[in-house]
Symmetry: C2
Amino acid sequence: MSIVLVRDSQVRAMESTVTNAEKYFGHFCSLLAAYTRKTARLRDKADQLVKQLVDFANTENPEMRATLRNFAEELARVQDYRQAQVERLETKVVTPLKFYGPQIKQTRAEIKKCKHIRSNEIKQLEKLDKLRQKSPSDRQMISQAETGVQKASADASRTTHQLEETVDAFQTQKLKDLQKIFLDFVTIEMVFHAKAVEVYSSAFQTLENYDLEGDLQDFRAKMRGVYGQKDARPRRDTAPSAAVPWSRPSQSAQSTTRSQRKEEEASEDDFPEEELEEEDLGGWDRDSINGMRTSKSRK
Amino acid sequence: MSIVLVRDSQVRAMESTVTNAEKYFGHFCSLLAAYTRKTARLRDKADQLVKQLVDFANTENPEMRATLRNFAEELARVQDYRQAQVERLETKVVTPLKFYGPQIKQTRAEIKKCKHIRSNEIKQLEKLDKLRQKSPSDRQMISQAETGVQKASADASRTTHQLEETVDAFQTQKLKDLQKIFLDFVTIEMVFHAKAVEVYSSAFQTLENYDLEGDLQDFRAKMRGVYGQKDARPRRDTAPSAAVPWSRPSQSAQSTTRSQRKEEEASEDDFPEEELEEEDLGGWDRDSINGMRTSKSRK
């Protein structure tokens, strides 16, 4: 009967592998979905800040106006990268984690089937045991029971073997996917942070080059009512006027994510979104997408 | 009377300078406070993910266990930097913006005083005009009214001049502060993103070095119930065991921010926090603080 015990502990080990995967992949999925949503909200706040910066720039004198517009544009660019980050996290991290639901369900069903067949084997063994105690001389009955046990044992052995293969495949896929999903997560984050460093470095220069003295001259002239010389003082920098930085080219792709925001705000955090966008990164931000693909090819 | 009109447009220009500052600094303050809070929530979600990764690591075989623990530790380190970012945003960005409330109130009071004195000047002028029309021969009355106008004009001129100086000082400070606050914002962000790139690069290596085949050998051995050879296969990497990465050294400094979270979650986003922590970055993350100070000295 020791083979039965071995099988028992085998099935329990497999069950716990699948149960743990179910539990933790569920946690990872909802936490990473929440992380993605919080990132989207950070983007929304920064977008609002960009808008206010542009509005405020329009009330300021040329020097500060140019500085604030350029700064707003750079801040908007960071949000473009954050938007790409959000879309990639949804596609490459949250969605694959969601796929574990059905996969786990199927493996769980196979474990159940195996347990059922295994319990039949035990039943047959118990039946044979009783027979041997009660009617040790009834050779025919015992022989019949022995055949039953052999058949049940063969069934159990075969099913356990099948299950072993299923769980082996499940585990292999799980480990590969874990590595891949978290590598994707890290890559997406890394690309975003690297781009942010780049853009903020340029924003630092923009702000540092601001000419306070020139701006104050303009202000004083204006206050004394002798404004009109304003164009006499040459400005170092002119803001690229029209194209408001916070109105992005592919508004359509964005609006989905953005309009979802309100609902997400209401139903807090802990459940993954039901709808995910297709991997449609639209026309904007090609540069960074390519950047990501390059760094991905390392794997 | 043209001097009166000039003064009028001067006062209106000053008033609009102060009104705009009030309006937009208010917006900046609440948006940046919200931005900071959203960053804190992102940190909280990532902290939860770290905890789940560590828990899950404990259910896995040695290879994946080590990988996940190291990855969790790196993810926790990013959150340490994010926490530093949150505290610095509060201290260097949100708090200075809050100081504009009282300052603007005072300047606004001076404008009101100036307008009152200016309307007295107009009253005296009107009085003189009427006298000249009604009793052009009453030299004594006209002379008295002329003195009144002269006095009122002198008052208005002096007050307007004073106001001009006040608003000039206000504007100078405002422009300087705008530059400084946004430079601080950019520096804080830049330091955080740069550190994140660094840590994620290391996390990428951690995940990429994961030995899937070795792990599967362990798993298969375990499943076949012949587990026990597990230590026979040498492992490339051992996780620094005990010190759970997500329990940070200076828990006390942190706990304030973290316990505020729940309340903030309830009262959504649009008002700056009433209490701000002192600039106490505690003992952790010295490295990054120094990094920030270095880059600041550039200004």
